[in-house]
Each structure stands twice: as structure tokens, then as C-alpha cells.
Symmetry: D2
Subunit: 157 residues, 4 copies
């Protein structure tokens, strides 16, 4: 495989990679094991990650992006998706798409095996992400982010 180009990651090479351990800032129960396949192939405008959640773990803090779109394709394991406050079972072959300005969501591994998913999304220069359960808004700009409690935001009208 010495001459495999940067654009191609073979399944066995992906399996051999060590995953990054990525806990979520706002949810200690969201420890994501992440292989950033997109970054490894040189993508800069899209994020594309192989994410594994161990049993009991969540994909993020329950959230919605006002601008960036993302989707999830479940590869193995089972879990639950909380979407707009409703719980739905998810398993292999299920696809979840979250349009800009759409409803809040989070996934949880409710099974006894790892839950593995391909997770992809836009990388815009700016975005706003709401976390309604913890009542916080994250303003994203470049590689920085500002977190503000809902109660400290005043509408400029």
C-alpha cells in the first residue's frame, strides 16, 4: 500500500488508526472516539469523521446549528436519537440529516456494543450553535468560539 495516495484511506488503514478521544465541552458524557478521515485526505471545507461512541455515551450536547448542515450514517451498533425532544431508535444503515436552522438533536449509544457512525458537516467561517437543554449559545468564528448563557443575550431590535 506504499503508493496509496492521500485521497484514499483503505479500510484496513482506517481500522489501524488510533482514534482521538474527544469529550464535549458542555457534556462530559459525550466522549467521542474520532478518526478524522476528511482531514487526513486533505479536506478543509467539509468535516468527515468516523465516530465511535462506547455504551452509554452521547454524540454531543443536545444542539442545533443555525447555519452549518450535518448528517450521520450509522455503520454499526444501536442507539437512540433525540430529535426535537422525541426519542427514535437508530441502527445500522440509518441516515440522519440536519438542515441549517433545523431542530435540535443528539444521539446516544443505548446498546452494549460500540456505536459507529460516519458523521459529516460543513465548515463555515461562522456559525451559531444552540444548546437548549443547558441554555447556552455558542458563536463560532474561525477557530474560535464564544459561549454565552441564553439569559445574557439581548436582542438588538
Amino acid at each position: 500500500m506504499s503508493n496509496t495516495p492521500r485521497e484514499l484511506l483503505k479500510a484496513e488503514a482506517i481500522a489501524a488508526m488510533e482514534a482521538q478521544v474527544r469529550p464535549h465541552t458542555l457534556n462530559p458524557n459525550a466522549v467521542r472516539l474520532r478518526k478524522s478521515l476528511g482531514d487526513l485526505t486533505g479536506l478543509t471545507q467539509l468535516g468527515a469523521h468516523l465516530i465511535t461512541l462506547m455504551p452509554g455515551h452521547e454524540s454531543s450536547e443536545y444542539h442545533r446549528h443555525l447555519y452549518e448542515e450535518e448528517f450521520v450514517y450509522v455503520l454499526s451498533g444501536v442507539g437512540e436519537a433525540l430529535i426535537d425532544e422525541q426519542i427514535h431508535a437508530v441502527g445500522p444503515g440509518d441516515f440522519l440529516g440536519f438542515p441549517r436552522g433545523g431542530v435540535a438533536h443528539v444521539l446516544k449509544n443505548t446498546g452494549s456494543e460500540p456505536l459507529t457512525m460516519l458523521v459529516a458537516g460543513q465548515r463555515l467561517e461562522q456559525d451559531i450553535c444552540d444548546y437548549p437543554h443547558v441554555k447556552k449559545r455558542l458563536y463560532i468564528y474561525g477557530d474560535r468560539g464564544d459561549i454565552v448563557d441564553f439569559e445574557h443575550i439581548r436582542s438588538d431590535d
Copy 2:
């Protein structure tokens, strides 16, 4: 499943969908069977498609995008990727990422079973796509496209 939200497509619902038959304008041998999972969940800024190529078929005309990024995750079947004029075997679990301004590429089903992939990419307002084997450039803007032979393009310098 009556209360499955738009954001979630269950594997069995995806399996039951009829695929769109999408031949490529510049390559009659690129007949793609497409289920546009992203569109069905409401995504507008990202394309995310389940693509099946029958044996012998190609994913597109050999091409490179100057702006839009795309990636492919192989789900089942085997084939070959032509990347920057080099052939590489591809199979289940392989990931291919194509950065903006990167090298040309195309996939082909060289096996005897269908080749199924998750294919995703940006949807920018404008893009330029080169087809070096047929010596054509496609200028994409909104939902329109202009095709021009390389020989008819003059650099404005």
C-alpha cells in the same frame, strides 16, 4: 414508523426507495442509481447520496472540482478508483476524500456485484469542474452549467 421525523431515514425505508437513474452528461457509461438522502432530510447546503453502480459502470466522467469538496465511503461491492491517472482497488470501508483544487478522479465497478457508496459534497453557489480526458471545463452557477472545450478558453492575463 408513522412518526419518524423528516430528519431520520430508517435503513428499511432507504432500502424500499426507488433509486433515480442518473446517467452522466459526458459519460454514457456512468449510469448512477441514486437515492438522495440529504435532500430527503431537507439538506440544501450539502449533497449526500447513496449511489449504486452496476458492474462495469463509472461514478462520473474523470473530473476534478476547483472549489467544491466531496468524499466517498464505500459500503459494499468492489471497484477501482482512478486518481491522478493511477488505478487503485477500492472496497467496503474505504474512504476517499477530494479536496478543493485537488487531483482528478473517477470510480468504476470492476466486480460482479453492485458497488454501493455514500457520496457527499458541498453545494456552492459557483464551482468549476474539469474533465481532462474529454478536455472540457464545466462552469457551474446556481442551477445552471456552461460546458466549454479547453481549446476555446483564453486566459485573461
Copy 3:
């Protein structure tokens, strides 16, 4: 002038327009008399305004945009520009350009005649604007804005 197209605003028609009175949310001393020439000609991606400040009035609250660029061309009257905490005299024919992520600034009419300027800038879907003197940050998205005191912003690192 009945057949003057929308793209052209004649000087006499501009002179005859009634200006909008636009006080700044964060600075009651910034009452701008505005003729939105760009809007009248159909521009949507750029703002271009003829702004008049009466004696003693300011152009805005002292501010800097992290993303949007703007510029000012002084047509008549005299005043002072506060740029990065330094005061500079301004008068007819002076040009001021404020790059994205640049220093804070504001103009003031310090003369006895109206100060009239052509003021133009980008209209991005998102922006962030800082008001260092009143220690507030404005997050702009679409036609909405969130104002937050500096002390209530926590960096997400």
C-alpha cells in the same frame, strides 16, 4: 427624468430625498441622517449610504467588525475620526477604509456645518461587531443581532 432607470440616481433626485433618521442603539449621540442609495438601486450584497451628521453627532458607537469591511469617503463638512484610540482630523476628499478584523473607529462632526459622507460596506450573512468603549459584542446573523456584555462571554477552548 421619467425614464431614468432604477440603476441611476441623479444628484437632484438624491438631494430631494428625505433622509431616514437613524439613531444608533448603543449611542444616542449617533443620530445619522441616511439616504440608502444602494438599496434604492437594488443592491443587496453591498450597503451604500449617503450619511449626514449634524454638528456634535457621531457616525456610530466606537466599533470594529471582525468580518465585514467598510469605507467612508468624506464629501463635505469637517470632523474627527477616532481610530484605534487616536484622534485624526477629517475633511472633504478624505478616504477611510476599515479592513475585516481591523481596529475600532468612529467619526464625529466637530464642525459647525453638516458632515456628509458616502459610507459603504459588505452585507455578510454573519458578522461580529465589537464596541470596546461600552464593552459589548454584537453577533449579527441574517437580519437579527444578539448583544452580549464582554463579561458574559466565555471562550470555548
Copy 4:
């Protein structure tokens, strides 16, 4: 004026600048004398130029941008604007705004004195500019441009 910041260009400094001589690629009669005030103050997302046309000269080849917006504010001199094939007189204090996807236009100095204008516009990563009189389309991307005759463009439908 030793401590005048980059953001401020004083009228006398602008007057003392040597203008760049900028003939248009497609129109030898469009020799523009240009002082790029925006660039000098560090703007990168907007172009803002003081343009002088000597008698008989035009501002460009008759054109329309499909994406970028631009505007013109006439400072001195007189001329004619050709807008959507109609001629209109222009003079000091007139404003012309050209929205994205709008009609074609060009200005000409038809007087005996220099015609001086402030000309500003967006700088998008991509754009398309049509020159209907010479039947050419210019595809702009980054700092490059491709010129193609209308007759060599085939719609991709």
C-alpha cells in the same frame, strides 16, 4: 501627517498619488487612471477605487456581473452612462448601483474635462461577467479569469 494611520488617506495624499494606468483587456478605449484607495487602507473583500477617465474614454467594456455588485459615485466631470442599451447623462453627485445579475452598463467621458468617480464593488472568490457587445463571457475565479466566446458555450442541461 507622519502619524496618519493606514486606515486614513487624506485628500492631499490622494491628490499626490500617481494613478495606475489600467486599459481594459477587451476595450482599448477604456483607459482608466486608477487610485486603489481600498487596497491602500488594507481592504481585501471590497474594491474601492478613485477612477479618472480622460475625455473620450470609457469605464470598461459594456458588461454585467452575474454575482458581484458594484456602484459608482460621480465626483467631477460629465459623461454618459449606457445602461441596458439606453444612454443617460451623468454628472457630479450622481450615483449608479448595479445589483448582481442586473443589466449591462458602461460609462463614457463625453465632456472636455476629466471624469472622476468613486467606484466600489465586491471581491468574490468567483464571478461571471458578460460582455454582450463583443459576445464574450469572463469566468473569474481567484485571481484568474477565463474568456470564452458566447458561441463556444454549451448549456449543460
